[in-house]
Amino acid sequence: MERISAHQFTTLGAGVLLGTTFLPVASIVALVGGRDGWMSVLPGFALGIPYSLMILSLMKYYPRRNLLQISEEAFGRWIGKLIGIIYLLCAIYLGGLLLGQVGDIYQTSIMPLTPLWIFFLGGIILVLYLTRSGIEVFARFSEITFPLIVVAILLNVGLSIPRIEQGELLPILGEGLIPIFKGSLKVIPFVMTYMLFLAGVIAYLPTDKKAIGQLKTGAWKIVFWAGILDTLIALIQMLVFGPTETIRLVYGLLALGKMVEVSRTVSGVESLFLGVWFAAAVIKIGSLFFVAIWGLESVFGIKGVKWRHVIAIIFLGIAFKNVRAPSLINEIGLVGEYIIMPFVSLWIPVLWGVMRWKRGAGY
């Protein structure tokens, strides 16, 4: 069976969590949190730490098994299957929507004349290739591309510093802590989507004592890396555009990239930046594709190339159904807020509690 190391888990987790979030995050938190919205990213992401630790602690007692298999043991076969079906549907629907977002972003920002299906096809081919190559290759892919994504984000943020407008952040906490709390609620779906992946990937993680310690440290690092980067992105957009414009620009980071100019040699680097963003999108969609594969395997006991192609076709179908930005972003938000967040935030603590109780009671 394939295995991934603690370091690969960290970069993969951070890649999945950061994934496609860094483009819309500023707009989302600014909408509910106003000019203080940028401060809500890290607290929202921090919720990922207890959830990650709960999952990792289950892994210690049920090595080489994913959370769906553990759920079947905890709640019985039928409830376990029901959880698996919700898990599978969440992954397939969100994965398809994010594939749609790839097409939307490329077409609206740099290649307006290219048909959408080209972007969908490019994305799904890479995701299929990655999933066919296995979880080890997926982990290595994130090991290489995650640092590139971080560098690209930092460069984009750094090169935008000259355009900062004074006073955009003031008054800090002018409306108290409520906007920050509301903003945090808006980013929690990102964390819960990552939990879907973590629930499946634990079957591939090392389970010796030393490795579990490293994985727990990794879980902290994942949340902080992704949280700090998204905070930086939200902050710089707030500083450059101000709250109103940040809300309006759904893909504000690309707008920042458009404004970059280096020594009259390179300007408007958003097309280069999109190349790196594409890797993040592939990681995110790939992670949901893996989730769908694990879901299918656990619920229906089916696996193989044929079923991967079926999942890919469903992804494409969903992407074609939701092609344009406002409705697409809304749909992603709705799935995250009203399906994934309630499902995962309930499932994992209950499962953890039940398994703890069962162990304590000697079952």
Binding site: S5, H7, Q8, Y106, I110, M111, T114, I118, F119, G122, I125, L126, Y129, L130, S133, G134, V137, A139, R140, F141, E143, I144, T145, K258, E261, R264, T265, V266, S267, G268, V269, S271, L272, L274, G275, F278, A279, V282
Partner: protein, 523 residues
């Protein structure tokens, strides 16, 4: 399944756990090979070849056993045979005290023990071994009706001296290279590693060519699983002939349809010694100066041994230049096509104006322009490669300067495109391994087409597809992209992008689970 489908499957699907087997034709003398040893049978098998010499004589003394020395003319050192075989047996033996004891039953043992002075003398009992020994360049003596024979190491043929390899020349460091003779090559290696732990395992490949091959490794360091895997894969090769290591390479590599080389090669004893000291395994084949080294990783194909002979800082600069060169060789034409066709916004206005002025009047799109130029460059390279040196240079001058200049003057290509393609060609020469440079040349074409159709999105799809492919490759179980992914921090910091000073290179690279990870010496 239709017959053409079957044929396609045969061509593309390699049977699991075994190499593709090509059946050897059977020969009329195959049955003779299983007969007991006899001079007469050997004569029947080999007498149709004019280069085989049969020297018959009688053993001195009372026994008068009829003897026959069989050699291949041109493969043996006649002086050795005259001085140390024929003279002792035919002349000096007449006064030997043991001569009277000799009978047909003990002639071979007494001859080996008392009469022949050489080192490489042994008894052989199988006909197949006798024939193979003769054809390999040794001498064999048959004694009357005896079912045994004696082989005498007397190889001596014209060979190329130990010269500097043309394809791996360096400025600082040893200048000797392997030759086509196996034993010279093993001796060159022995001179570098004078340790009893150096193992040289002999094998023979090719049912007809009977090519000798040795597997070399340092027992104390090399991973036993890798050594066993190498021997297993080699033992499964069934071919008529093995003329060059290229035959073996395709048979034993993990992913034969990948454009990327997964087995390193060298013509230099110092490089082979260095790699064996890292725990790798070498495969030396008789008849070629190229030695294969496994396992191999991608970064290895971008580093050269000279890096270890220079000062660390200079080596780091050289490596950096090579990495940049490799990257430019892969992406320069596709980036240019993507920028000029789709993403003009990333070029500042002044530069954009200058590029536009250069392209004014060029009747072709950038993709077609670049593809044509690259194909012309490939033709020039291919034409110049195998021509005699002076003509090859002329081809280069005519092709690059005259045709290039004329094409620009005629307005068929833009000057910037000539610069880009020229830069790409020069950059690809910065890749030290020819096989990797070929892979890069091959991958440039799909990248250019993707850039021409889909801009940076196409380039990104192409590059990520290549990356995923690379990440999935393994060489004898070692991930090809190691130590970057999976990350091996020490190997990455010690000897990948940078080369740490020798005093800091205390541990062997973590790429393979070597038996002795720490190298000796205080540093």
């Amino acid at each position: 399944m239709s017959s053409w489908m079957k044929m396609l499957k045969d061509l593309t699907v390699r049977p699991k756990g075994e190499r593709r087997i090509r059946k050897s034709p059977s020969f009329s003398f195959d049955e003779d090979m299983n007969k007991p040893i006899s001079g007469q049978t050997v004569k029947e098998i080999l007498s149709k070849s004019s280069d085989i010499v049969f020297r018959e004589f009688n053993f001195p003394g009372k026994s008068r056993i009829p003897c026959m020395l069989v050699v291949v003319d041109g493969l043996v050192d006649k002086n050795i045979l005259d001085q140390f075989v024929l003279k002792p047996l035919m002349v000096d033996l007449n006064h030997h005290p043991d001569l009277e004891r000799v009978t047909l039953a003990n002639v071979i043992d007494i001859t080996i023990q008392s009469f022949l002075p050489g080192i490489e003398i042994k008894k052989i009992v199988k006909m197949e071994e006798a024939v193979s020994t003769i054809l390999s360049g040794d001498a064999v003596i048959f004694f009357g009706e005896s079912s045994e024979a004696i082989s005498i190491g007397a190889r001596g043929w014209a060979n190329r001296g130990v010269n500097e390899p043309i394809a791996e020349s360096i400025v600082k460091g040893p200048h000797e290279g392997f030759t086509e003779t196996l034993r010279i090559n093993t001796s060159l290696l022995r001179r570098k590693i004078k340790h009893p732990s150096l193992r040289i395992i002999s094998l023979k490949l090719g049912d007809i060519s009977n090519t000798e091959l040795v597997v070399v490794y340092i027992e104390k360091i090399a991973n036993k699983d890798i050594v066993s895997e190498v021997l297993l894969r080699l033992s499964k090769i069934k071919m008529d002939s093995v003329i060059d290591v290229g035959y073996i390479e395709e048979m034993i590599e993990d992913f034969p349809y990948s454009p990327f080389p997964q087995i390193a090669y060298t013509e230099r004893p110092d490089v082979l010694a260095g790699k064996l000291l890292e725990g790798k395994v070498g495969i030396i084949l008789d008849g070629t100066p190229i030695v294969l080294v496994v396992p191999a990783i991608l970064m290895e194909f971008l580093n050269v041994n000279e890096d270890y002979y220079q000062r660390a800082m200079t080596a780091i600069l050289s490596r950096f230049v090579r990495y940049v060169g490799s990257f430019v060789a892969v992406v320069a034409p596709s980036t240019y096509i993507a920028v000029t066709t789709f993403h003009q916004e990333i070029i500042p206005t002044d530069l954009l104006m200058s590029i536009s002025a250069g392209r004014q009047g060029v009747p072709f799109p950038a993709l077609l322009e670049a593809l044509t130029m690259t194909i012309v460059l490939e033709i020039l390279q291919e034409a110049g490669l195998r021509l005699p040196k002076p003509i090859g240079q002329t081809i280069g001058i005519v092709g690059a300067l005259i045709i290039g200049d004329a094409a620009v003057n005629a307005g068929l290509v833009s000057p910037l495109m000539v610069i880009i393609i020229g830069l790409t060609a020069v950059a690809s020469y910065a890749i030290p391994y020819y096989d990797l440079s070929l892979a890069v040349r091959l991958l440039r074409f799909p990248l250019m087409i993707l850039a021409g159709i889909l801009g940076f999105f196409g380039v990104a799809v192409g590059l990520y597809a290549i990356l995923i492919h690379l990440l999935g490759l393994r060489s004898f179980g070692v991930p090809y992209t190691s130590p970057i992914a999976p990350l091996r921090v020490r190997a990455l910091l010690q000897d990948t992008f940078v080369r740490a000073p020798w005093w800091a290179l205390k541990r062997r690279p973590q790429l393979i689970d070597v038996q002795e990870p720490r190298s000796k010496g205080k540093g």
